[in-house]
């Protein structure tokens, strides 16, 4: 069952089209990653989903067709910028944001305690948030968005600018939230995060969905090539001649040589290994290691959008 359904969403700012007929659905207990370069329409889409921005046309409906206004108590939002009060302690911050959803008394205390434990800030619960490191602030930012136990958690680049330990902690938290039953909509620029935690991915650019599905879905649809990586024993045989001969095969799209390592890209449906072995023997080379590798998500993203993800920041 879909927890969020977006149909033909359009949003323009004067002459600029930010979201152009975007459709997307997120199923229950999914960790759905949205990928896209800057200006792709990610944040505008999220703001339309949250009801923070009015959209021109299309529909955004939640479970049972409810609007964001009616369903807002079920949404947890972890914005990219730190939406916390630096003058207040983590306890006060979490209590305040949680109480906005109607929780009070013991229930509020318990939820605050649980959120603090979840993000690992119990020991510093009475210190002012302004004194925290970037990673701790990010964790508190997350705690403020999840303390009311929302069904859908929207995380907009929650790991920007933090140390690897804090990032790992946040990713662990995301997984734990998902295991506990929450659906997560996650945007990030870091491809490994998407690969690590998302079970469904949507690639958007210029306000349109370019590809959506599981990682393997996208790869099978978009990634037509495969890459053969061969590592030869050093100093044996004529590698330059080998590279030259391989590059003359019409089915080889690309060959890259770095010392005694070669990367050969060719169509998936063409069997190349026999010809490669033959040339290896001819050139008196000795194979130390050979493997077939799928293109990375980053490479697929590049081929889909023509833009490097990490360069966008």
């Amino acid at each position: 069952m879909d927890i969020l359904s977006i149909q033909n969403l359009k949003k323009s700012f004067k002459d600029m089209v930010a979201v152009d007929g975007l459709s997307l659905s997120i199923g229950e207990k999914e960790v759905h990653g949205i990928l896209g370069p800057n200006g792709a329409g990610k944040s505008t889409t999220i703001n339309c989903i949250l009801g923070l921005l009015e959209y021109d046309s299309g529909t955004v409906s939640f479970e049972d067709g409810k609007s964001s206004k009616k369903w807002s108590k079920n949404i947890g939002y972890v914005p990219q910028d730190l939406a916390i009060y630096p003058e207040l302690t983590p306890t006060e911050n979490i209590q305040f944001f949680c109480s906005l959803y109607g929780f009070k008394g013991e229930e509020l205390k318990n939820r605050t305690q649980r959120a603090l434990e979840f993000v690992g800030l119990t020991e510093v619960k009475d210190k002012k948030a302004g004194e925290f490191s970037g990673g701790m602030k990010r964790r508190l930012n997350m705690a403020c968005g999840i303390a009311h136990s929302p069904k859908l958690i929207i995380m907009d680049e929650p790991t920007v600018g933090i140390d690897p330990q804090s990032r790992n902690r946040i990713l662990e938290n995301v997984r734990a939230l998902n295991e506990a039953g929450a659906t997560i909509l996650y945007t990030t620029h870091y491809m490994p995060e998407i690969e690590e935690i998302c079970n469904k991915i949507t690639v958007i650019d210029h306000g349109k969905v370019i590809a959506t599905g599981t990682k393997s879905d996208i790869m099978s649809r978009m990634g037509k090539d495969t890459e053969l990586l061969i590592e030869f024993s050093e100093g044996k045989g004529n590698i330059d001649q080998f590279v030259h001969q391989v590059s003359e095969f019409s089915d080889v799209h690309h060959i890259e040589q770095e010392k005694w390592i070669c990367k050969i890209r060719h169509p998936k449906n063409i069997v190349m290994i026999d010809k490669i072995i033959e040339l290896t023997i001819k050139n008196q080379l000795s194979i130390q290691n050979i493997k077939n590798q799928e293109p990375s998500l980053e490479e697929i993203f590049l081929s889909l959008t023509g833009k490097e993800l990490r360069d966008q920041k």
Binding site: N47, L52, E54, P79
Partner: protein, 367 residues
């Protein structure tokens, strides 16, 4: 829900030492500095008639003219208690009038009377005596002259008293800067997004900011009251509740104005400088720096100053200090409430008619 927002606001507001210093020390600082530094401007004591005197200078006047002068001045002296003293140096007498040592100086010549008064420093008592004198001097000589027995119950108004009220009102106007900042911070921190998503909404947030401003303003009034009473010896009079009410309405206006500017501002410097400039302008035109009686006697300014809410506030506070609830007080109350409502309506119009959602920094950036 609203109680939670207010509680958080007060906590955030009072943990900031700058805010605390602003609330506690600004009124004291402004009252002290203005009442000392600008003390000379408040020479025009609103004195009682008993303390007032009018000088006269005889210059080739006939017996008939002098006789008429004695009749007029006797009547005024009987009615008001003002004394008339002869002077033999007209120029020195004029200087004395300018220095508020006398209400005025009357030059008596063969052609009649020439009443000299200070253009900028004439006190209320002096103005009344001059009016009486002119009326009697122009009256028909054959008819018996009579004037009502007038008693002016005005208190002595010195710089300490004047600036206790006007400087406090000025510092309250600055409350708008803190509120605007506080609202803008919510946008800058993106906490506004979380509030928007909750039941509280923007309306609840703005109301809590305004109420926080009112609480802080009340603290300022209490501080100024204690300081002026205990240190400066200023008695706020018997219309204390009215005075406090005028101050609360002024805080309401400045907080509403500040919160609206905080919401519509696109950057922090614009937010701060616009409220600051507005407060300064209101303060200057409203008589919080230069006394009102000086501004009222300046051409052009005399009309322009009336657009400042502080002009009406200071007018009302002077009346209330003298124990009078007059039309000035009612005008002030109506103007402050009216302006608060007007600013709120303009904000609502911008948000609804223009369908403009006040987006955060991040949303604006994404656009």
């Amino acid at each position: 829900m609203f109680r939670l927002l207010l509680k958080k606001e007060l906590k955030v507001f009072f943990t900031n030492k700058g805010n605390l210093a602003f609330i506690l020390f600004l009124p004291i600082l402004m009252i002290s500095i203005f009442s000392v530094a600008l003390g000379n401007y408040i020479k025009a004591d609103y004195g009682t008639f008993e303390e007032g005197k009018v000088l006269y200078y005889e210059e080739d006047a006939s017996a008939e003219i002098m006789n008429r002068f004695w009749i007029i001045t006797d009547k005024i002296a009987d009615a008001t208690g003002v004394t008339f003293e002869q002077t033999d140096d007209y120029e020195k007498a004029q200087e004395a009038v300018e220095a508020s040592k006398a209400y005025g100086v009357i030059r008596i010549t063969e052609e009649g009377f020439d009443y000299f008064r200070s253009t900028f420093n004439e006190p209320e008592g002096g103005e009344l005596v001059r009016t009486l004198f002119v009326q009697l001097a122009n009256a028909n000589i054959s008819q018996p002259m009579s004037i009502q027995n007038i008693k002016l119950d005005a208190k002595q108004l010195d710089s300490k008293i004047y600036y206790t009220f006007s400087a406090l009102a000025f510092s309250i106007m600055f409350m708008g800067v803190l509120i605007a900042n506080s609202v803008y911070n919510e946008k800058e921190l993106d906490t506004i997004e979380r509030i928007k998503l909750s039941k509280a909404g923007i309306g609840g947030m703005m109301a809590s900011k305004i109420l926080t401003g009112i609480c802080c303003g009340i603290v300022q009034v209490i501080v100024a009251f204690a300081f002026s009473n205990l240190i400066l010896g200023v008695n706020w009079g018997n219309k204390l509740i009215w005075i406090v009410m005028v101050f609360i309405l002024l805080i309401l206006f400045s907080a509403v104005f500040g919160s609206v500017i905080g919401m519509i501002s696109k950057n922090k410097s614009m937010c701060q400088s616009s409220v600051l400039m507005f407060s300064m302008l209101c303060g200057y035109m409203g008589g919080s720096i230069t006394p009102l009686y000086l501004l009222e006697n300046m051409p052009v300014l005399t009309t322009i100053i009336k657009i400042s809410p502080l002009y009406w506030t200071n007018q009302a506070l002077t009346s209330l200090y003298n124990g009078i609830v007059d039309e000035k007080t009612l005008y002030c109350i109506c103007i402050l409430i009216g302006l608060s409502v007007l600013v709120s309506l303009v904000f609502m119009l911008i948000t609804t008619a223009g369908k403009k959602k006040f987006v955060s920094r991040k949303e604006a950036a994404s656009v």
